[in-house]
């Protein structure tokens, strides 16, 4: 468990960096994890193909919310094309917890990434769950 709730996760959970909404975002997407009722919304501001601002909102466990906080932090300043290719491995490295053998909790961690992709690709066009995973 100390693995699961590293300092960094708890820090982002208790003090999320980019929680909130953007006024008139260029992209806004929301995804749910029906298994546990977790919900993440991500708002993006995009200028000249670059993500210039990002906010997240939602409710869920420490893993999903901390991952959303870290991911939104990470993508600000990133070209959209690069963000579209942000991989599952990159996310897991970012949050730094061993989840590959935890099929339930990995869904929590990947929810923000799924939300980001739904936003960037447009709902219905995002890579499917198993492609993200």
């Amino acid at each position: 468990m100390d693995d699961l709730y590293r300092e960094l996760i708890l820090e982002h959970y208790k003090h999320p960096r980019r929680r909130g909404r953007l006024d008139h975002p260029d992209i806004s997407a929301e995804e749910h994890n029906p298994l546990c009722g977790d919900r993440v919304r991500i708002d993006l501001r995009i200028e000249n193909g670059i993500i210039t601002d990002a906010r997240f909102d939602g409710r869920g466990c420490a893993i999903s919310q901390a991952a959303a906080s870290m991911l939104t932090d990470e993508i600000v300043g990133m070209p959209v094309e690069q963000a579209k290719r942000f991989s599952k491995e990159q996310l897991l490295t970012l949050i730094g917890i061993p989840l590959s053998h935890n099929p339930v909790r990995i869904k929590c961690a990947l929810l923000p990434l799924k939300t980001l992709k739904a936003g960037l690709y447009g709902v219905g066009h995002a890579p499917q769950d198993d492609e993200i995973e």
Partner: protein, 414 residues
């Protein structure tokens, strides 16, 4: 602190030894299994019973004219008789073997429902139903144009029956859980049945959480259908029971078509077997049915009222000790009165999944989520809860460990 309990009634330590799985450690701590509401553990004799069938007399039932098949058929039908006596059915012909509670309810919705419901008819449910006693009725309503009506609950998580008679108007079927898998509430099924019958409605009881934990007598309750699952009552997965009143089952059309459920088959039409065979198409879960019979023997030798009393002791102790945990809210009745031992709660500032993960690190197995009762969670405006549930093998020390781990979760996230 340890509670005094009535455990001396039966030797709990010896009883725990009957469950091989309980003798292990998880994350370096002794396993405390507090998720029996999802699925119970199995005593050695049930596991042995499955193996014995495969090793000694594995053969299809109701078919072969040879020793093994006869032995398998005998054991299979004897299990049906055990289950019938367990719930005090009038006849073992009233016992239909299915896969689980979900299938039992779907069988009634498809067979009885499609044949009997018309547009405008009503089905009365409650907002605390498990999805398996909700979605089949939604599907039936969509097929037939019937309407769903819901009994509300009060602040203690108990059904509000003040308007029952008015709500029963035009109702053809009441489908209600006897014990909520989230709140633990035990519902007054006999009273509901009496009033439902007064307007000519039938009553289906979801017994998934009651049959494993308390004495259930279908004649005393005077209900029409009872659905329950073997895996929650020390039996195997893949076997469940639909009990129905003979006179009603006799009138119902088949559910699935195929082998075993027929009398005479022609190329274009067939006649159907009598109940219960009419509803048991194909090769049944033979080993599982026989092992369910073994589980029933096991439970009855201990005594369902003693199991209920033991759980009630544990529940009382748990409710008392959980009050010590700051920021913890229990959903459902706050006393042991008419209450089963599933205890769902939230902890301020800690998501139910995180609570469960901290408990897991202490070797304590609980469930977190919506427990297949999303409308109930929506009623409380929460996405999920953490649930601890107890059974005959749980001990007060496990309650103590639960409480200690909850304090730890608070500190970690506080």
């Amino acid at each position: 602190m340890t509670a005094s309990t009535t455990l001396s009634l039966f030797d709990i330590v010896a009883l725990r030894r009957e469950f091989p799985i309980l003798n292990q450690s998880v994350n370096g701590k002794a396993l405390a299994f507090l998720d029996s509401a999802a699925s119970s553990q199995k005593p050695r004799r049930v596991i042995d019973c499955l193996e014995d069938y495969y090793r000694r007399y594995n053969a299809n039932v109701h078919r072969g004219i040879y020793r093994l098949s006869e032995e398998a058929t005998f054991a299979f039908e004897r299990a049906r008789g055990k289950v019938a006596r367990f719930i005090n059915a009038r006849s073992q012909r009233e016992i239909v073997f299915v896969r689980n509670t979900t299938e039992a309810i779907n069988l009634v919705a498809r067979s009885w429902g499609d044949a009997n419901l018309r547009e405008g008819d009503r089905i009365l449910l409650s907002i605390m139903e498990h999805h398996s006693n909700l979605v089949p009725w939604q599907m039936l309503a969509q097929r037939t144009g019937a309407k769903l009506e819901f009994l509300p609950i009060d602040g203690e998580g108990r059904l509000v029956l003040d308007n029952l008679d008015a709500q029963l108007e035009g109702v053809r079927l009441v489908a209600i859980t006897q014990q909520s898998n989230v709140l633990g509430t035990i519902n007054p099924v006999a009273e509901i049945a009496r009033r439902a019958h007064a307007v000519g409605a039938l009553v289906l009881v979801d017994g998934a959480q009651s049959v494993p934990h308390m004495p259930v007598d279908v004649q005393a309750l005077d209900i029409d259908f009872l659905a329950f699952s073997g895996h929650k009552m020390c039996g195997p997965t893949g076997i469940g029971v639909l009990w129905g009143r003979r006179a009603i089952l006799d009138q119902m059309p088949p559910f699935l078509g195929g082998g075993s459920m027929i009398k005479v088959v022609g190329l274009y039409e067939s006649t159907y077997a009598d109940v219960p065979a009419r509803f048991e198409a194909g090769t049944p879960a033979i080993a599982e049915a026989i092992a369910l019979g073994e589980a029933v023997d096991f439970l009855q030798e201990i005594g369902m009222d003693r199991i209920h009393a033991h759980e009630r002791e544990l529940l009382g102790y748990a409710l008392e000790r959980l009050r010590e945990v700051k920021g913890l809210r229990v959903y459902g009745p706050t006393t042991t009165e008419m209450r089963g031992s599933a205890v769902s709660f939230t902890l301020d500032g800690v998501h139910p999944h995180d609570v469960a993960a901290v408990l897991d690190s202490e070797g304590i197995a609980v469930r977190a989520g919506h427990h297949c009762a999303q409308p109930l969670h929506a009623h409380y405006n929460i996405p999920a809860t953490t649930r601890a549930s107890f059974y005959l093998y749980n001990i007060p020390e496990e309650v103590d460990r639960l409480v200690a781990a909850l304090h730890k979760a608070r500190t970690l996230f506080g």
